[in-house]
Symmetry: C2
Subunit: 254 residues, 2 copies
Amino acid sequence: MIRVVLIGSGNLAYHLHRALLQAGGVQLAGLAARREAALDGFDPSVPRLPLGEPPEGADIFLLAVSDQAIARVAAQYARGSALFVHTSGAMGLDVLEPLSRKGVFYPLQTFSKGRELSFDEVPICIEAPVESDMALLSSLARALSTRVVQIGTDKRRELHLAAVYINNFSNHMICLGETLCKKAGLPEGLLHPLLRETCSKVQDLSAYEAQTGPARRNDTATLNAHLDLLKGSPESELYRIVSESIQRTYEQEL
Amino acid sequence: MIRVVLIGSGNLAYHLHRALLQAGGVQLAGLAARREAALDGFDPSVPRLPLGEPPEGADIFLLAVSDQAIARVAAQYARGSALFVHTSGAMGLDVLEPLSRKGVFYPLQTFSKGRELSFDEVPICIEAPVESDMALLSSLARALSTRVVQIGTDKRRELHLAAVYINNFSNHMICLGETLCKKAGLPEGLLHPLLRETCSKVQDLSAYEAQTGPARRNDTATLNAHLDLLKGSPESELYRIVSESIQRTYEQEL
């Protein structure tokens, strides 16, 4: 039985606590957060621990807080001897410097509180400098997911950057499209079949093959007409930059 | 029975010819293209017509060519009296100037030749200045799709712009993410669960609500670390511009 203490109260902490409660061979021994009230929506049966309490009997401390808070929170646990891991895609091991046993447990997924999500297929990227810690981390990861990979900090950072494009940036483009549609007074539902096909297509083809549209066709008349429509909006620069990036991607073919 | 001649040989023309062959009350009377060889993958039973042949017996000429080619091709049909419609999201009616009866038939979707697509749910945006032409156009559109809307040129242009964000731009972000992953030598499959959840989420929530990540959290340390990773790449400006746009979108909340 791996005893885990989870620190944090955000989207990732929420989904981790649900997954840990369901996992076999794992006991969620406690929850801690900077503001305990932020844990209100979490399972009430799990003990709330004061932040910085020495990790009596816990095997792993899972730190699911914002990147900026990791070092500060880690410092509060410097006396302990449990394995202490953060869940960030972007941070190295050095941010856990004062701790004797450290590692990384990075689930590569987008988490929102109001949304059910199965951890089974979430790739979990693990890293630990000591072999026995890596084995423990691997056992915990395998209890949550079928996809566990050992990845060092440099590669994890590149993966995290790629994930920002795949999720955050693509989502934002859809957000801008929905906003334009709303501003024009057009029914939003009009765009739903296109959104569905966009999503379906990019899972069957590579995004490179799936591309269509004026930038892909190098249709400068339409590109200029769109820039005219956006004139005066802070988004016109984004339109230009993204179109140029698409044109650059297919330059050889035109 | 509506007799249709289809002009063009690209992705849209291909999918239109398939849909027209299956539609009830519609006869695909002929195909024309600038280069007839480009029609090789099209149904061999449909007569090939020389470009510019007078529209004997045809009710509607459907022009599915690139925006830049519309005026040039339309001019070749100036003697005819059939209804002549283009399929562009970006062009007005004026581009069909020499023709006596004109209109627009814009299917709001992304089309790729190698991919099956059902027209049933594709919104078709129609426009025609003469009421009887609009009625004919509406009949044709309804034979192909359950979602037919009358939209004037200005609104159609705004819709087309929104569609570029929803499809082309979001797809390109995914393309950049896949490229980064490949360049880093990481297995591409690692990103698939994230891509699946990105797509699933944005169809359940609005993209506005679905957003997560460093720009959404205003996590400047990670944003700067990512810009460092991208240093020297032409994509670093895109990263900055898109992140700033996300930050602007959620400014009020931070």
